[in-house]
Amino acid sequence: MALKDNEFYKMWFKDAWPYITGAVLLSAFQVFTLASTGSPWGVSGVLANWGAWLYEAVGGTVDKWYYFASVGAQRTLEGGFLSDTGSMRNVGIILGALFATLMASQFKIKKIKSWRQIAAAVLGGLAMGYGARIGFGCNIGALFSGISSFSVSGWVYAIFLFAGAYVGSKLLVKFFM
């Protein structure tokens, strides 16, 4: 029997897992993350550190930047990429996603259809990155970790997330249809 017809291959690698499975696993790993690293799961804060390291690699310095002024932020930056748990986790997410798509035999380099896609990706990325840092978190750090820590801020975030998604989907239809 070919591997692609094997029912366990289909269940584990080919077909999408049910939402409930994802929810249970995310919750379990959130508990594990909080217990082992002392902080809840976050993604975009780590990306800001990556930006700082890249900037330092080309000779820049962020010592005087207000964002990186705290003792904790300085310690993380001095500790470096390899001793930052958040960086390791983000690398793990990227490698895990690659593994999943390769196992499902669905890896594909997609063509860029128009300059609009590039413009939207760059503008959207900048807006999300800036928003995530100014709001002290993205949909993981502020929403998922916020709500799972019984923080009201997570729920406030959720309300505005829906408002933003509403406006975003209107813009999407306007510019891409």
Partner: protein, 75 residues
């Protein structure tokens, strides 16, 4: 009975779904709409939407990460 092809390769969610909705509305009953998709979330939501609307739907993986969703407009 006519056959139409909708090329959504390289388009991310929810564009394939919105395009398929618009295109299908223009078709006559009995026509076939073939939606080409290479975004795994569109591979789920396009057939889901078409089935919910009561159309006949078949989805086939034609290449690595590439699908053809065939929708027969029934009403």
């Amino acid at each position: 009975m006519a056959e139409y092809e909708l090329d959504c390769l390289g388009e991310a969610c929810p564009i394939p779904l919105v395009k398929a909705e618009k295109k299908l509305a223009e078709l006559e009953i009995g026509d076939l709409l073939i939606v080409l998709i290479d975004h795994s979330c569109a591979m789920k939501n396009v057939p889901e939407w078409a089935r919910k609307e009561g159309h006949n739907v078949e989805i086939e993986e034609v290449d690595d990460g590439e699908w053809e969703c065939v929708i027969e407009k029934v009403k």
